[in-house]
Symmetry: C2
Subunit: 397 residues, 2 copies
């Protein structure tokens, strides 16, 4: 079933309309559309929004389904990375099972498109990638999953990792990942040259984690910019987190943002309350593509989160001090159509010709839907009903 007629919906909180999906695409939005044998769902006046887009997460490592993880980890980044590898081994964590659990939980929340960073390291090699790829196969038609081959434990500091990334790309990962070329890998030139070379070899893009703050992050950004120019990879290299774009020195951060616009570098945020972050309005004004994600959650890194991108839109709004309804609509766009655009998906929109990914949400307005993020009534992926009343139709393992 990839045809569906949704009646009595309020697209983006506006006037009531029917939405007709045929062959997975929206073919009409209007009053009293004819069903013509297509299955019908009555939205009963609920708001219709595009499928939510989780543009930055880690499907392979949540501890969903396990007892509560009592976190006693140390304060440093390396403490968390080493602890995670140990816990994974101890638990025998199965990336396929965990990614199924998280993906289906996210589907229940209305997410229809996910970009996930999957750990590639010399401990577990490509096992997590295989697991997430199996999840991707099983969930075709339910949720789209884009995979970044992610050197979580470092690249230059762990010989053999680059070769694994290369293999990961050959196996079918969509993008090459990276991580804090200075702060983590202590060799920004080596790190960036390596990931750009792998990306070029496979004709794929890059999405690099950059937690480095302040001037250090700015330095790494500049080194990324230099390589985009040198390789002609404009539009193909994204930066996740990019805390340095929130640098208080306006001149420094604005120069970085302007260069992101010039070189078409999409930015992905998780809107963490505890850090300086790229400003939604500022990136919007500069024309930088911008998406958001839930990041990892309920894992060894931290306890927060549940996969809900509507709640993330709220956090994004709170972080950016968005109070007006028109501002809240911008936050929702980042978590739907805008986030998809930042992932080069141009048809993820609630319009004729757009992909038939629709979520029915509760509230008088888009603002109320974001703020209260009540259970989603209906989730539709390319015309398929995949979740009802907050839960995916397919049971979690």
């Amino acid at each position: 079933m990839t045809d569906l007629l949704i009646t009595n919906a309020r697209p983006m909180g506006g006037m009531k309309a029917d939405i007709l999906i045929k062959d997975g695409r929206i073919t009409a939005i209007g009053e009293k559309l004819a069903a013509d044998g297509v299955p019908v769902e009555d939205a009963a006046g609920r708001i219709a929004i595009p499928g939510l887009v989780d543009a930055h997460t880690h499907l392979d490592k949540s501890l969903l389904g396990y007892p509560w993880y009592v976190n006693t980890v140390g304060p440093l980044l390396i403490d968390k990375i080493d602890n995670e590898r140990n816990v994974k081994r101890e638990y025998g964590l199965d990336a396929h099972v965990q990614s199924m659990r998280q993906s289906l939980q996210s589907v229940g929340y209305g997410t229809t498109l996910i970009r996930t960073h999957v750990d590639i390291d010399t401990d577990q090699a490509l096992v997590a990638l295989e697991g997430v790829m199996e999840t991707r196969r099983q969930l075709v038609g339910v949720v789209e999953i884009e995979i970044v081959a992610f050197p979580q434990s470092g690249l230059m500091r762990r010989p053999g990792t680059a070769e694994l990334l290369d293999k990961a790309m050959a196996m079918g990962a969509d993008l090459v990942g990276g991580l804090d070329p200075c702060g983590m890998d202590r060799d920004p030139k080596g790190h960036l040259d390596t990931i750009f070379a792998i990306a070029e070899k496979h004709g794929k893009g890059i999405d690099i984690h950059l937690h480095e703050g302040g001037e250090l992050g700015a330095f790494s950004m500049e080194m990324i910019f230099e390589r985009i120019r040198a390789t002609g990879m404009q539009g193909k290299v994204a930066v996740s987190h990019a805390f340095c774009l929130g640098l208080p020195d306006w001149n420094v951060s604005q120069a970085l943002i302007d260069t992101c616009a010039e070189l078409d570098v999409p930015i992905f945020t998780t809107a963490p309350p505890s850090r300086e972050v790229p400003s939604l309005k500022r990136l919007h004004a500069a024309g930088v593509r911008f998406g958001a994600g839930v990041d990892g959650f309920r894992d060894t890194w931290g306890p927060y989160g549940n996969g809900d991108m509507l709640e993330r839109a709220m956090l994004l709004g709170m972080k950016n001090n968005l109070r007006r309804d028109d501002e809240l609509a911008m936050a929702l766009d980042v978590c739907t159509t805008g986030g998809a655009l930042a992932m080069d998906r141009h048809a993820h929109a609630l319009k004729v010709g757009g992909r038939g990914d629709i979520v029915l949400v509760e509230g008088e307005s888009v603002g109320e839907a974001i703020v209260t993020h009540q259970p989603r009534k209906l989730v539709v992926t390319a015309g398929n009903i995949v979740a009802r009343d907050g839960a995916s139709l397919r049971a979690r393992p």
Copy 2:
């Protein structure tokens, strides 16, 4: 009914125990306590925590019960303040009804103690105060409400306000409020001298809103310190928000924090993701009393929030980058016993001799209870059952 035996609870997520409340006080915590005719509630292994404490809110001005408020307000503080007075007039907002609605919603979330700042201005004079005082009378035994007489629209800039504050204190407000002596009132000396004089006259404390950031906030803090020393009001003057304590310059902010400790100035936060805030761990290390609140919500200022202090503990944790379970326990303390201590309530604790305010929450651990903040199973105020399954027993108007 002020006697109650709660069986099979896990106090603070620990081992199972019964909790006996007599005459509104906890008289025993232990295994297999005898009921002796006291009503019994089976916690069925749920976690028991102390009543949640909302130490900073605005009961008189939420728009709960009204249609969604479409916010189109301007960017300045004064835009929001002027807009609010206009909307209040237009809606004919009834502070008694609104404060009943919010208080009972909060009770459903497990809040048993509230400090509310009530608007006093030359437009509405003491009407809001009368309304909230009526709510306080009606909710005796359900939730304790402490009232701050709050000059939301300014003090020196609106002649007649000081006289109204004086009357408010005579009527029974508990504390004198204040608001941004520089940023809002443009006369820090006049503002602070006035509120300290009213507080001294009535023998009451002060709780002043200080949104002023950076060095401006630091300046206002110093002027507050000078007056505490001059009047001998150590321990009687609290500062809400106190964003300046989050100043990045460690020397400046640490000097302020140390003086808060020296003069026993309690700090109240709402943990806004968009601002620099006082650090939980840093205040804790310095020995500064620290509470948290939900602030105003669903009002003309902004759309976020619902009154849930367990969700606020999560936001406090996210803002302070707390990830370990022992750190999450600190966040919960700020939202319960610690917040009450900052309000000079020394018996608000889950221990023998403590007030019989108990909330049963869901989760394997306190961390999970905070992170998932599921509906509260049971809320008990001084031995009275006041809410079940997320809703107060008393219906909202």
